[in-house]
């Protein structure tokens, strides 16, 4: 057991890769076996990752389950893993969402099943690796690797303009991340020049002293990399395309996990590495975040395509998360991290439901539906819960996160918060209106007459998410108590730097007007 716990992170990261390797030897024609095996293995992976949760010490901000081996000595890169309260839940979210999306793909993915399940599992490894790395080079490597399976998932099993979307997705993110790489390497070199220590160790890089002007340039560079991923207005246009054309599983992973990397990157890299620049640029980023909230919501209202609507709602929700993170109070960052989990669950669930509708009717246009509640009461009820969770109804998960974000940001950024709060109204408008047009009223389209309700497998797919919505909404303490120490430490770093920042500000006469 102790050895298991010592290397648990590596086990968790590479177990999916091993699973994929096992699946390589399964006959291509045995699609049922492939699907079942992949689902079972991903469930096993989720169970293993629960050990992290069980053995996680919730009273410290220090990194836990640390593993460290020398890797490329010439670059000072090491295989360095470790998690804190934030990455813990990101890892759990990843393993859960992968399991759920594999379970959801039984009907949706009809051809190239073997390739699909293998790519999904490989993708899982890369995502987990990104969340667990504490070495900048290792992080970057996993970060870029992630794009490859996702590219194929969108490109091969997508619908409509899937190639366009896949290429747009990969070029957007690649452009962002290459600029980011430039920033990270500059910090690496600066650190070497200052200390003579040739290392990519993130914890050591935190101590780099970066001159303020350079910090701002680097922050903007790294901001671009992460902002594309989040995505923040105006870097969001890849998202609706990618979401719309991706298969259900792809959308679920994209919304559930991939978008979190942007925020996670800010949390783990951009802000702690360059706190002063972050503080200086905060107003601009908050403006972008608030624009994202309102913009995403307004554009959602007029969407005709279900998936596109949910995708734009993601833009809006991710704006909330950015607002919470950059308000940089303990409460708002707590809320932000919790909202990352919430968004993964709620939007993931919404995509699952949209996928179910698509599987039955092979259309995603809202106008093609209507009156489904009569034919599929279970689907309607569960879909409703997911919608309400996304709307931020109290008692469900979305509310806790959003409220913490808003209450945490309110004092310092009152105007921004007021605008952001209005986003909640719009969320009600677009989601309820969509739900009404899809589920309620009379059946206008004859094709909906023999609409089938959810199968047992489909219920099992969404049930964990639905239960989590209630659980987080009613008893968020399980999550908050583990997130909080990390967040408090994070905020303390910022506060510490705020002092320095204020000194600089006074010296330079910044923003005196």
């Amino acid at each position: 057991m102790s050895i298991f716990l010592k290397y648990i992170l590596s086990i968790i990261i590479f177990f999916p890769l091993l699973s994929a390797f096992i699946l390589v030897f399964v006959n291509k024609k045995a699609e049922g076996l492939l699907r079942n095996l992949a689902t079972i293995l991903s469930f096993a992976e989720f169970v293993i990752s629960l050990f992290l949760f069980i053995y996680f010490k919730s009273n410290t901000y220090e990194f836990q389950f640390i593993e460290r081996f020398s890797w490329i000595r010439e670059f000072g890169a090491s295989y360095f893993l470790g998690i804190d309260g934030v990455s813990l839940f990101m890892i759990l979210l990843t393993t859960l969402m992968t399991f759920v999306s594999l379970l959801s793909s039984y009907k949706y993915i009809k051809d190239h099943v073997k390739e699909f399940v293998i790519l999904m599992l490989v993708l899982e490894t890369f995502m987990l690796g990104t969340f667990a790395s504490l070495d900048v080079l290792l992080f970057y490597l996993f970060w870029e690797f992630m794009l490859i399976p996702m590219y194929f998932i969108i490109g091969m099993w997508g619908s409509g303009r899937r190639i366009y979307s896949a290429v747009k997705f990969i070029l957007y993110t690649l452009a962002g991340s290459l600029i980011m790489l430039f920033g990270l390497i500059t910090i690496f070199i600066l650190h070497y020049e200052q200390t003579g220590d040739f290392t990519f160790n993130l914890l050591k890089l935190y101590n780099t002293n970066i001159p303020l002007t350079l910090q701002i340039v680097l922050f903007i560079a790294i901001f671009l990399g992460f902002a594309v991923k989040v995505p923040v207005f105006p870097f969001h246009t890849w998202l609706p395309d990618a979401h719309t054309e991706a298969p259900t599983a792809g959308s679920v992973i994209l919304a559930g996990v991939l978008l979190k990397f942007g925020v996670y990157g800010f949390f783990r890299f951009a802000i702690p590495l360059m706190p002063e620049a972050a503080l200086i640029l905060t107003p601009i980023i908050l403006v972008l975040a608030v624009i994202s909230i309102i913009y995403g919501a307004l554009v959602s209202i007029v969407q005709k395509d279900l998936k596109r609507l949910v995708a734009f709602s993601s833009v809006s929700h991710m704006g909330f998360i950015m607002l919470g993170l950059f308000a940089m109070t303990a409460v708002s960052v707590d809320g932000s991290v919790l909202q990352m989990i919430n968004h993964g669950i709620s939007t993931g669930a919404l995509f699952l439901f949209v996928g179910m509708l698509y599987e039955r009717r092979h259309t995603r246009l809202i106008a093609d539906f209507g009156g489904l509640a009569k034919k599929a009461p279970i689907l309607a009820a569960l879909f409703m819960i997911a919608v309400l969770s996304s709307v931020g109804l109290p008692g469900l998960n979305g509310f806790v996160g959003e409220f913490l974000i808003l209450v945490g940001s309110f004092k310092q950024y009152t105007i921004f918060t007021i605008f952001a709060t209005s986003g909640i109204i719009f969320a009600a408008v677009y989601l309820l209106w969509m739900f009404q047009r899809v589920m309620f009223q009379d059946i206008t389209n004859q094709k909906n007459e023999d609409f089938k309700d959810m199968t047992f497998r489909e219920i099992m797919t969404v049930l964990p998410l639905i239960l989590l919505m209630f659980f987080i909404g009613l008893y968020p303490d399980v999550f908050l108590s583990r997130i909080n120490p990390t967040v408090v430490h994070f905020v303390n770093i910022i506060e510490h730097n705020k002092y320095a920042y204020n000194l600089i500000k006074a010296k330079m006469g910044l923003f005196n007007a």
Binding site: V302, L388, L404, I424, L432, Q441, V487
Partner: protein, 627 residues
């Protein structure tokens, strides 16, 4: 957990249990859901009564279940506050809910969604109980939204009907607009006071500068205005009548819509520190009372008339709490809950007998066919019109008297005017439905409702008749005032009464106003001394204004809804597709065009490659020399 706590937590537990049972296992428990659901509420009612007497002969207390959110300096528990204000509300809510549940067994008997209906209704009762019992603003907000949700699903209960679904959505969204202010208010309280617990907030609020107190009060008021359907956010309530009638009785008359008044009464400390905000409450209340009564006079849909009446009556309550007569406001809230619940239920009974007909032009002379319903309806109508000895008289009089005694003559006049209009429209309804010649479709078999529906009506009618006596004038010596005002001891900052006219003079004016209204209706609709059509054409602009509900929906649509929608389309089609995607695709286009030009260098000719190679070598060497 001692017995007190246990009882307190059992009150919401039963409705919640019911909601989950019917919600999840509705298919199998369909036949039991009505009776068992009602039983659960009755148990809650009994427990509430127990708590009521515990508090009446003892003290209020708080009880904590578990810590809910604990994020660094933001801590909120799931806990309740039990005091005189909340127990009164508890007894009222559970009592009326129990009656509405029993009534619904009959009313919804043949509906497909029987179990679903009781699940929603139980969920609503749970949320409402929690709203009342909450001991911090966050829980208040949470269940404030939760009752809104229940209202949404119950309005849209018959989801095949487009109008029902639209109405539900409208209710939810309009409420959200109010809640937007409410949420900001809650946040402002947190960041200024540092906690959301009632007791701390109320004891520390005076340390804030006045403008902050006013801001907080106004933001909370926004939530109250939305939920209680006050001007300018009242538009959702008339549409909400698309839901089943017992729902209208319970949610949209007796309990949820009065939550705004409860909120202001609960936060009376905040409002009493902010005279400006209180004045706003008063003005909103007066405006709403008048506008709603004005619209109600010309409507033909019986449920909508009663709905506008509800809006108007809540306007009264707002006026009361606006001048600091919280006890009077609460008293009217309770008596209104009884007689308005009664009116809706009887209207439902009429609908039931008339196979869902709502237009009063197609009724008439029903008295002989449904006596129980008619009599109970008239009792409710008399109570609404403020005719002694029915409850509405006492409670409305308490408000009007305090308006007059505080010197707010303008609003007193409005109040009396509204009293006249109220009596007019409700008796216009009664005369048209129950008396006069019948316009009922000949094929329609009109019948009295079953006992399971009429018994709750009779119980409510009895209460509507006698409830008022606990608020015998003079109001500030009455039983109710003495009971509840202990909780309002903190409210001050309001000028003491400047008039001290004998109560019977003021009461006489109100009664005269009410009787005049009834008589006018009698003259118009029974005696028909005037040609109504002529009257209509004479006052056509005013009549049209009233008949078309002041065009408020159209104005909102023109000023808010369409611009937002068009702006959204602009954002999507222009900003997103043309600007941002245009820029992105433009860059891609530029690269592809440029490279297709540049690639001409790569012409496939080996010889030219060799030249390039040589030139490269030359350039490299040249670089060496330059360097």
């Amino acid at each position: 957990m001692n017995s007190k706590d246990l009882i307190v937590w059992l009150i919401p537990f039963f409705p919640l249990l019911g909601a989950i049972l019917w919600g999840v296992f509705g298919k199998y428990l369909k036949n039991y859901s009505g009776y068992l659901g009602s039983l659960f509420i009755v148990i809650s009612f009994i427990l509430s009564t127990v708590i009521f007497f515990m508090v009446a002969y003892g003290h209020g207390f708080t009880s904590t279940l578990y810590p809910w959110i604990d994020a660094s300096y933001f801590k909120v528990n799931v806990s309740t506050t039990i005091d005189r204000l909340s127990v009164v509300m508890l007894v009222m809510v559970t009592g009326i809910s129990a009656l509405v549940h029993i009534y619904s067994i009959g009313y919804m008997k043949d509906d497909k969604g029987f179990a679903r209906y009781f699940s929603y209704l139980n969920l609503f009762v749970f949320s409402m109980i929690m709203l009342i019992m909450a001991n911090n603003f966050l829980m208040l907000y949470v269940f404030w939204e939760a009752v809104g949700l229940c209202s949404y699903v119950l309005i849209g209960f018959w989801y095949e009907k487009k109008s029902a679904v639209e109405a539900g959505k409208k209710a939810f969204i309009v409420n959200r607009i109010g809640d937007f202010g409410f949420a900001l208010g809650v946040m402002l309280i947190f960041i200024t006071i540092g906690t959301l617990n009632y007791s701390t907030v109320f004891s520390d609020i005076h340390t804030l500068p006045p403008y902050l107190i006013t801001t907080i009060a106004l933001l909370l008021l926004a939530g109250a205005v939305g939920k209680s359907a006050q001007f300018p956010l009242y538009v959702w309530l008339p549409d909400a009548m698309e839901g089943p009638t017992p729902v209208s009785a319970l949610i949209h008359a007796a309990t949820m819509v009065t939550a705004g008044v409860y909120l202001i009464a609960r936060c009376h400390v905040i409002f009493s520190y902010s005279p400006d905000a209180s004045d706003v409450v008063l003005i909103i209340g007066g405006t709403t009372a008048f506008i709603a009564a004005f619209i109600a006079m010309t409507q033909f849909d019986i449920k909508r008339i009663i709905a506008y009446s509800t809006i108007s009556q809540i306007g009264y309550m707002f006026m009361a709490v606006g001048i600091g007569s919280y006890a009077a406001g609460m008293f009217h809230l309770l008596s209104h809950a009884i007689f308005k619940g009664l009116l809706f239920l009887t209207a439902g009974s009429v609908m039931h007998g008339m196979s869902g007909e709502l237009d009063l032009r197609k009724m008439g002379g029903l008295y002989s066919k449904m006596k129980k319903t008619a009599i109970t309806f008239i009792v409710g109508g008399l109570a609404l019109s403020g005719i002694p000895p029915f409850s509405g008289f006492f409670s409305k009089d308490a408000i009007l008297a305090s308006l007059f005694n505080k010197g707010d003559y303008f609003f007193w006049v409005i109040g009396e005017l509204v009293a006249f209009m109220t009596a007019f429209y409700i008796f216009r309804l009664i005369f048209n439905v129950f008396f006069g010649e019948s316009h009922v479709d000949k094929n329609l078999h009109v019948h009295e409702s079953p006992n399971i529906m009429t018994i709750p009506l009779i119980i409510l009618a009895c209460f509507a008749a006698v409830f008022g006596f606990i608020g015998m004038p003079p109001f500030n010596h009455s039983i109710f005032y003495n009971f509840i005002n202990k909780d309002f001891a903190n409210s001050f900052n309001f000028a003491p009464a400047i008039n001290n006219y004998p109560w019977y003079l003021l009461s006489a004016v109100s009664v005269i106003a009410g009787l005049t209204g009834i008589y006018t209706a009698y003259v118009f609709y029974i005696k028909k001394s005037f040609d109504l059509e002529k009257l209509k054409s004479k006052f056509k602009p005013i009549y049209d204004l009233s008949y078309n509900k002041l065009y408020v929906d159209e104005i909102y649509d023109f000023v808010i809804v369409s611009p937002v929608k068009n702006f959204s389309i602009f954002l999507w089609r222009v900003v997103d597709t043309i600007f941002i995607d245009g820029a992105v695709n433009g860059i891609a286009q530029w690269i592809s065009v440029t490279s297709s030009k540049v690639r001409k260098v790569q012409n496939g000719m080996l010889m030219s490659y060799l030249f390039t190679l040589t030139l490269g070598v030359i350039a490299l060497l040249a670089y060496y020399f330059v360097k």
